[in-house]
């Protein structure tokens, strides 16, 4: 049960981050890695204004203020940096966005050299559920992340603003001829980004979270790239499913490392190779998500090519 809850928590977080990246890709046409910088930045700002004894209301208000701040920051960077280079190729823009990520990380390092001391009002409190102790932060993470993701799906599919955003993402040229302003779309995207990355950053860094610690935030943000790859950076539903598949595969393999290691040893000994190498946590955390992503990348296009050939 513990493994199941951890998988769900991690999947919700991946989903939150991956959907922001996909949304950015749909609107701006390139993978904006710079967005991951905000995920690292948000918990540091929140930690400046809160402590373990802060009331829940203050904590929520600070999170809300940080969401607005990051929305404004994202809009400003988008407007000042990415708009002028809009004529460059997608790959060039990705390189620029990686630079933005490292600039944000450097600023975080300069401003908070000794790291952040993020405390949440729920701390590491837990409650018993089906014979296991479930952390409150896990439950909050799952509920909040899924509520935000499904809220976003609702806005995109059932509101005029959301439909306009999807239309702009579908064809920018014609959308302008229907009166959809690029500025309107950029503001909406920045707002969604602000809300989602702040939540992802704060929840990932919260004490008690399966991947707690501000320094690990960026590492797990990068793992969230794997569902983006599986979804071929455009399909939000596939992105949602892939986030959970990857989180489950990662957590279950981590929980069964001994059995996997035994299989690995018998596999290599079958070829007469004797090795001292063992599969450790690195295997589960780093290898599994990207191996799944690459496998999907090989299998999915092959199927699509076949479908195209069949007309």
């Amino acid at each position: 049960m513990g493994v199941f809850v951890t998988s769900l928590t991690l999947g919700s977080l991946y989903c939150l981050i991956a959907i922001v990246l996909v949304l950015h890709f749909k609107v701006s046409g390139f993978l904006n890695i710079g967005v991951l910088g905000y995920i690292a930045l948000a918990p540091y700002i929140v930690s400046e204004f809160t402590s373990e004894n802060s009331p829940l209301l203050l904590y929520l208000l600070v999170c809300l203020a940080v969401m607005v701040l990051i929305s404004v920051l994202n809009f400003a960077i988008d407007f000042a940096l990415f708009k002028p280079i809009s004529r460059l190729s997608g790959s060039m823009k990705v390189i620029v966005s990686i630079c933005v990520l490292f600039i944000i990380l450097t600023i975080v390092d300069i401003v908070w050299p000794s790291g952040a001391n993020l405390e949440s009002p729920v701390g590491t409190k837990s409650f018993p559920f089906l014979g296991t102790d479930v952390l409150w932060i896990d439950l909050i993470t799952i509920i909040t992340a899924l509520a935000v993701v499904f809220g976003l799906f609702f806005v995109l599919s059932r509101t005029i603003a959301g439909n306009r955003l999807l239309a702009y993402a579908g064809d920018k040229h014609t959308a302008r001829a229907y009166g959809i302003s690029p500025l309107y779309v950029r503001i909406l995207t920045s707002l969604f980004t602000g809300v989602m990355v702040t939540l992802a950053g704060v929840l990932l860094a919260s004490p008690g979270s399966p991947r707690a610690g501000v320094t690990s935030v960026i590492f797990y943000s990068l793992i969230a790239l794997s569902p983006v790859i599986v979804a071929r950076h455009s399909d939000l539903i596939i992105c949602l499913i892939a986030s959970f598949v990857i989180a489950f595969a990662q957590t279950f393999s981590s929980a069964n490392l001994n059995a996997i290691n035994d299989s690995f040893q018998s596999f290599v000994s079958f070829f007469g190779v004797s090795t001292q190498a063992t599969l450790g946590p690195t295997f589960a955390d780093r290898f599994i998500p990207f191996a799944i992503a690459l496998l999907a990348l090989v299998i999915i296009p092959t199927r699509w090519i076949r479908d195209d050939a069949n007309g």
Binding site: L156, D171, Y178, I180, S181
Partner: protein, 276 residues
């Protein structure tokens, strides 16, 4: 037939006809000495014409004559290298496509544009006129406001345009002609005051073409919408337009009433190759 369809047009929104006419009455526009160059190639050379409000104009020409570029200049998707575009009384040369759409200009593209993430009805609703009522603030605090109202209008417009497919389905696999009708419905959803149709009847059979033309004619007649049709097919121009402008190699070769333009020697030589 004509009268019945006209009544349908009035039913498109729930307002009395007088209000409708006020909101939708066509506006005129003018191009003055428009030049467009792409990487040294001159696509349009000194194009000048004036289209009064409510006039129905056809633009004819060979492939590569500059018809679609002209459409792009009119709808604001291409900025002219030199020259002036006036919409109503306002100099709109530097105004964006978004601004022109807000002023009531709607464009139907040569190849139907379909947003794959949206259903048929959502594709139609995209054409609704953007207003302050559905800006970013409204989107945040009242995300469903006006959604139902616009959905109902979209259903009426879909019926008007003879789209009988399930509105919640995706249109990805629909026939080309149906996609064209969806795009027309999307344009009509925006209460167009200037309607620009880029090769509207391409890849349609005769019946589909007649139906399409009937809807367009009926709408522009009812609301005195200014109509610009870019088309190869002279029959479509004869049905939809009162005036024709023939262009070749980016220049106007004839301008006037449809039949005299189609009988113009230059037009016959350059474009038709036979007397119409």
């Amino acid at each position: 037939m004509k009268k019945e369809v006209n009544e349908k047009a009035v039913e498109l929104v729930n307002n009395p006809k007088e209000t409708l006419e006020q909101e939708r009455r066509g506006i005129g526009f003018a191009l003055e000495d428009i030049e467009v160059s792409f990487s040294g190639v001159q696509a349009l050379k000194g194009i000048t014409f004036d289209i009064p409000a409510g006039e129905r104009v056809g633009i004819i020409g060979n492939n590569g004559a500059g018809k679609s570029t002209l459409c792009d200049v009119i709808s604001g998707l291409t900025k002219p290298t030199s020259g002036k575009v006036k919409i109503g009384d306002a100099d709109s040369t530097k105004k964006s496509a978004t601004w022109r759409a807000r002023k009531g200009m709607r464009r139907v593209f040569q190849h139907p544009v379909y947003y794959e993430d949206l259903s048929i009805i959502e594709n139609v609703m995209i054409g609704s006129p953007p207003s302050n009522r559905d800006g970013v603030i409204s989107a945040l605090f009242y995300p469903r406001l006006f959604y139902k109202e616009q959905r109902e209008t979209a259903i009426r417009i879909m019926e008007y345009c003879n789209i009988d497919e399930n509105e919640t389905h995706s249109a990805v696999k629909l026939p080309y002609a149906t996609k064209k009708r969806i795009e027309l419905a999307r344009a009509l959803m925006g209460n167009p005051r200037i309607l620009v149709l880029d090769e509207p009847a391409a890849s349609m059979d005769e019946e589909e073409r007649a139906q399409y033309c009937q809807v367009v004619l009926d709408y522009v007649d009812t609301f005195s919408t200014t109509l610009v049709v870019v088309e190869h097919d002279v029959e479509i121009i004869k049905i939809l337009c009162d005036r024709a402008i023939a262009i070749d190699a980016g220049e106007i070769v004839a301008d006037g009433e449809v039949v005299p333009v189609l009988r113009n020697e230059k037009v016959i030589d350059l474009y038709l190759g036979k007397r119409v």
